[in-house]
Symmetry: D2
Subunit: 366 residues, 4 copies
C-alpha cells in the first residue's frame, strides 16, 4: 500500500522528486525475451517532455533515460528493469518562497498535514515530473502489448469549451499540432482558447480520451478487480485527474436501457460482435472484445500568475502570484501519461487472466 507501487504480476515502482537528483522507475515482472532499447522508451518520454510548444513549461530537460538493469544482450531478462532519468534543470531558488505558504490547488498543504513537512522545491514528489516513471514503464508495457497486436492510443478530446467528435477525427493528425488534438480545425480553436488563458495569466482544463484496440474478450476479474475499476484507479492516480468514465460514462446515467444496451450479432467470420459500443468495451468489468474507450477529466493547472488568496505557515491570510515555469494546460502532455497508465493496467490484467481456466493451464504446462 506504500503508494508508489502498482500492479500484481507486472509491478511498477516509481520514485523521485521534481528537483531531486533523478527520477526513476523499477518494472518488475516484465516477461523475459522482449527486445528493448533506451530508444524504445525515449520516444515515449519525448512525448511528455517540456519545452515543445508555447503551451508547455519552458523548463529545459532532455529527460534522457538510462536502463540500469534487467536487459541483457538487448532483451529483457525477466528480472527488474530499472530506468532512470537525471534531473538537469533544477532551479531550487525559484521555490524558496513556496516553502512558507500553501499554493491553492496544490498538494502543499496536504503533504504538510500528512508528513509534518515537505520537499517544497517544485512540488517535490507531487510534481508532474513524477509521471516520468509512469511513462518510462508504460513504454515497455505498450511494446509488449504491440507484440500481442494490442494498441493503446490516447489524444486530447477537449480543451476548455472545445471538444472533438469521436467519430470524425484522424488520429494521424494528433501530433501535427501543439495540443495533441486529432482534428485540425478543433486544434486551432483550442490553441486560441489557450492563448486567451495565457494572456489572462490563467489556465484551463480538458479531457483526454483513450482507445485500446485488439484486446481479447475475457480480460478483467469479477467484483473488485474489474478491468474498468483498475483503469479508473490508474487514471485517477494521475495528478490532476478529477474524473473517469468508460464508454458512455456519465451520459449513460441519462440514457434508457433500450438505448444503452449494445445488441450482439454474429459476424460473417462467426465471431460474436456488438452493433454499438455504449459499454466502452467492458461488460461486468471484463473486456468484451470491442474497443475499450475511456476518458479522463483534468482540472486546470493550479499554478497561475494571477493573484490568489491563501495562507502562510505563520497562519496569516496572504495574496500570492505563483511564479515558476508552468504549463497553462496539463492535457497535451498528459496524453501520453494516460496512454501509459492504460497500457500498464491492461497488460497486468491480461497476464493475470491467463490463469482463469483449468483447461488452458493444463495446455500451458503440457
Amino acid at each position: 500500500m506504500a503508494g508508489s507501487t502498482l500492479g500484481t504480476l507486472l509491478s511498477v515502482t516509481t520514485w523521485g522528486e521534481s528537483h531531486g537528483k533523478a527520477i526513476g522507475v523499477v518494472i518488475d515482472g516484465c516477461p523475459a525475451g522482449l527486445p528493448l532499447t533506451e530508444q524504445d522508451i525515449q520516444i515515449y518520454l519525448n512525448r511528455r517532455r517540456p519545452g515543445q510548444s508555447r503551451f508547455t513549461t519552458p523548463r529545459k530537460e532532455n529527460d534522457a533515460v538510462e536502463i540500469l538493469s534487467g536487459v541483457f544482450g538487448g532483451r529483457t531478462t525477466g528480472t527488474p528493469i530499472s530506468l532512470m532519468v537525471r534531473n538537469t534543470s533544477q532551479r531550487s531558488g525559484d521555490y524558496s518562497e513556496i516553502a512558507s505558504y500553501y499554493r491553492p490547488g496544490h498538494a502543499d498543504y496536504t503533504y504538510d498535514c500528512k508528513y509534518g513537512f515537505r520537499d517544497y522545491t517544485g512540488g517535490g514528489r507531487s510534481s508532474g515530473r513524477e509521471t516520468i516513471g509512469r511513462v518510462a514503464a508504460g513504454a515497455v508495457a505498450a511494446k509488449i502489448l504491440s507484440e500481442l497486436q494490442i494498441t493503446v492510443a490516447a489524444y486530447t478530446r477537449s480543451i476548455g469549451p472545445v471538444t472533438i467528435d469521436y467519430d470524425r477525427f484522424d488520429l494521424s493528425q494528433m501530433e501535427q499540432n501543439a495540443v495533441n488534438m486529432p482534428d485540425p480545425k478543433a486544434a486551432v480553436l483550442a490553441e486560441a482558447h489557450l492563448d486567451l488563458c495565457r494572456k489572462n495569466q490563467d489556465s484551463c482544463g480538458g479531457v483526454v480520451e483513450c482507445v485500446i484496440k485488439g484486446l481479447p474478450a475475457g480480460i478483467g476479474e469479477p467484483c473488485f478487480e474489474k478491468l474498468s475499476a483498475n483503469l479508473a484507479k490508474a487514471v485517477c492516480s494521475i495528478g490532476a485527474v478529477k474524473g473517469f468514465e468508460i464508454g458512455d460514462g456519465f451520459a449513460a446515467a441519462g440514457s434508457l436501457g433500450s438505448q444503452n444496451n449494445d445488441a450482439f450479432y454474429m459476424e460473417e467470420t462467426g465471431a460474436v460482435a456488438k452493433k454499438t459500443n455504449h459499454a466502452g468495451g467492458v461488460l461486468g468489468g471484463i473486456s468484451d472484445g470491442s474497443d475499450l474507450i475511456f476518458r479522463a477529466a483534468f482540472k486546470p493547472t493550479p499554478s497561475i500568475s494571477a493573484p490568489q488568496q491563501t495562507v502562510n505557515k505563520s497562519g496569516e491570510d496572504i495574496t500570492v502570484s505563483v511564479k515558476g515555469r508552468h504549463d497553462p494546460i496539463i492535457v497535451p502532455r498528459a496524453v501520453v501519461v494516460v496512454e501509459c497508465m492504460a497500457a500498464l493496467t491492461v497488460l497486468d490484467m491480461l497476464m493475470v487472466s491467463m490463469t482463469s481456466r483449468l483447461d488452458r493451464i493444463k495446455n500451458f504446462f503440457r
Copy 2:
C-alpha cells in the same frame, strides 16, 4: 489480484452467487474492541433489500445476516469477521432460458469468454446480489468511522433527466421517498420518469453522490494510492457504474484555474480552511480536511422486457425479451452500496496513514 478481495489493512473478501446457497463476506483486519451486533449490519442490508417500492424487483429476500466469527462478548476480536446471508428466494427455473443466449448489457458473454462457462442462474456472481457482501462489510466500516466522528452519506443525485442541486437539499428527506432523493419535489419528478420507463418496458440510469464529513487532512498516499484513486476503483467496481468524479469532476475540465482553485484562509479557530471546495476534499490525492464529495454514474438496468437483438450459443442472431424480477433502475438501491464502498476505502486508507510520520509512531509505542 483474485478479484474478490479489497483493501490493505482492512481487507474484505466477498463470495456468493445470486441463486447459490448464500452470499457472504469476510472482513479481516477489523480493529478489536468495536461493539458489533447483527442488527448494526442488518440496518444497512435493509437499505439495499429488494421489494421495498414499485421500482425494485419484487423478489422477496429477508437478507438476514448471521455473524459467524470474529465477535466475542459483543465486541470485535481483531480476527476475521465472517458474515453470511442465506438466499431464500432462488428461482432457478426462471433462468434456464438465459443459459443459451447472451443478454445485452450483461456479463453473460464476457464470463463465458473468461471462464469457458458460467453460472447462468440470475447472473451468478455478476448479479447485483453480490453487493450484499459489500454492504455488510461497509456497515462495519461505517460504524468504526462514526466512532472516529467521520460520517459517510450517499443519496440519489439524479435519475434520468431529473437532478437535484447540491446546495439545496435536506438529507433527512432522503428516506422519505422511493428513490432516495433528498429533495421531495425532485423525487416526484423522478418517480414520474420511472413510471414512464416501466410503462415502456424500459429502464433508466442515474447518478449517486456521496459526502464524507469529518475526515482529517492527510489521509491518502502519494502517486498510485491516492485516496481519490482508491475511491474511483472502489466505486467503479460496483456492477453498473460507468463513471466516477470527485469535486467538480468533468466540469473542472471546462473550468479555468482562477475558478477551480480553492483559496485557503485562516478560520477564527486558527485552523486552515478553504473558501470553496471545487477539489472535493482532496489535493494531490490526499484529504484536505474539507468534505469529500464524489459521484458515480450508473447505467440503466440492462434487463428490460422490451425486445432486443442478441445471439445464442449456437451462433444465431435472435430477438429476446429478458424476463425475471428486475429493478427498472439501479440507483436507489445502489445508494447504500456506494456509501459502503466509500466507508471501506476511507477506513482502510486512514489506518494506513497512521504510519506516515516517525514522531507519531514513536508516540504510539511510548
Copy 3:
C-alpha cells in the same frame, strides 16, 4: 496484510474460532472447470479430524464441509469458493477458567497484548481448529495439482527421538498406523514414546516431511518470492511450527561445497537431471525439476496436565494444570495441514510463473 489471506493469484482467506459457530475459508482465483464435490474436500478434512486414535483429542467433530458458492453443475466457476464447517462440539464451559490466566506456550498472552482482550474459549482463533480452512482449501489445490500430474505427500518424519530414514520407507504404510509414519517399525517405537508422554501428563514434538513430485523446473520467482521462501512462510504460519528446512537444510550448514552441490547429468531421454538432491528441488529459489523435499519442526503440544507456573490477569504468580481435550502430539494430525499449505503455495506460484516469458504469453493468446 490482514493476517488471514494468503496467495497472489490463488488467494485463500480463512476465518473462524475453535468454539464459534463455524470455521471456513474462501478460495478466490481457483481456475474454472475443475470438477469438485464436497467429498473431494471431506477426504482431506477427515485426515485432520480429531478422535481418530488415542493420541488425538477425544473432542468429537464431524467436520462436515459445505460448499456455499463457486461451484455450478459440479464444476468450479472461477469465482470465490466458500467452504464452511459448522462447529458442533463446543464446550465453552471447559474454558471459563482460562479466561483469567495465560497458559504457558499458548497465544493467550500475546493475543491479549495485541488486541486488548481475547476469545478465550478453546484458544479462539489461535486454536488448531483454524487449520480446517487451510485443509479445505488445500484439498482443492491438491486436486488441481493432480490434474497437472503433480503430487504432494507429507508424513511423520520423527516423533520425539524416533526418526525414519527417507530412503527406506513405504508411503503406502503411512495411514496404517496412528502416527502417520510410513515405517511400521518406527511407528511402534513412536507410539510407545507417546504412551509414555501421556502417562507422564506430558506431550512431545516431532517433524513432518513433505515431498512434491512432478513439479516442472522454472517455478518460483527470484529474490523475495522464491518458491522456498514462500514454502517457509506457509509452513511456519502453521501454529506450532518452530523450524523449516528444504533439502539438506541445517545439515547443509555443516557440509562442504563438494558434498552439497548436486551434479547435473544428461538422462537418456535427453532431459537434464541431478545425480543427488541435496538442494531439495530448488536452485536459486526456483524449482529444478527434482523432487521438492522439505521438513517442518513442530513443538510439543503446549496444553499439558502436569502442573505449570504462570500468571493470572490480576498479576499473581499461580500454578495451573491445563484441562480440556488436547492431543499429546500435534504432528500426526498436522501432516495433512503441511501437505495442504504446500499444495496452496506451489499452485499459486505455478500460476504466477505462467507469465515469465513473452514467447509463451504470445502463444497463449494466439
Copy 4:
C-alpha cells in the same frame, strides 16, 4: 508477486545484476522525519563488502551508496527513497565460459528453464550482489527501529563443525575476527577450518543467528501473517539459505511439553515475563516481549575450484572447475544481510500492528 518487492506498509523493491551498471533499491512507505545520510547506509554496506579478509572474494568494490530521492534537508520525506550503488569492478570476460554450461549448486539451470535465457555474467540477478539492495534498505529500517529502542544483531553461530554457545559469547567481539563470530576461541577454530577448505579448493556452510531486543509484545498477525512466518520467508529468500528456525527450532521437535513451555511470572516492576525462552520470543506467531531469536542455515558456497560434473547447453556431460572470485564461505558476509532482512520484516509488521485496536486508533486521531 513480481519477486523483487517485499513488505506491506514498508515496501522494498530491489533491482540490479552482478555485472550490470548498478544495483539499487527503492524503499517506499518509510515514515517521514528520520534523519538520514548516505553514511548511515554506508556503514551497513561496508559490513557486507567484499575484499575484507582472506575468506571473501578479492573482487574490489567500493559499494558507495547514493541517495537519489526521498530525503530533503537531511530527513526522510515519506516518499520513496531510491538508493543506488554503481558496479565498478565488473569483469564480464571471466564469465563467458559459464554461458555455455550450468554450474552445480547455482541458479543457472533454473533461470534458463524459467526465462528461456539468462544474464550469465556473474550470476546476473541470482548473484550475492543482489543483497546490496537488501542491506541498504535494512540500514534504514534498523535506524528507525533504534529510534524505537529496538535493536537487531546477527552474528555467525557456526561454521562447518565449529559452533558457539549462545549463553557464553560477547557480541562486542564479533567484528574483531574475519568470521564475525563473537567468541575469539571459536573464531580461531573456524578460521582453521576455512583455511583447510580453501586448500582443498572446497567451500563450507554455516549458521547465522539473530537476536532482536526491545520488541514490544503484540507484534505480528494471526494465521498466515505470523511474525515468525514472515521472518522465515524473509530469511529463506536470501540466496543460499536452506533452513530457518526460531527459538529452540528443530530441537523443540525432540523436546517435551514440560520442557519446552516457557513459564510466565511477574517481574517486580509488575510486568509479565518468561523464565525461559524456548519459544524464541513469539507465541502464536505474535511477539511476547522476550528477545526474538532465530537462526538461518547457509549452504556451502556453490562455486568451488575442485572439478565437478555437469552438463552444457549442447546436452553433453562435462567436467568443470568454476573460476571467478568467490568467497569460500558465505556466512560472515551474510550476517548483515540476515540482520537487515529481520529489521525490514519487524519494522513492517510493527507498523501494521498499530491498527489492531480501536481504542488506540481513536487515541491516535484525537
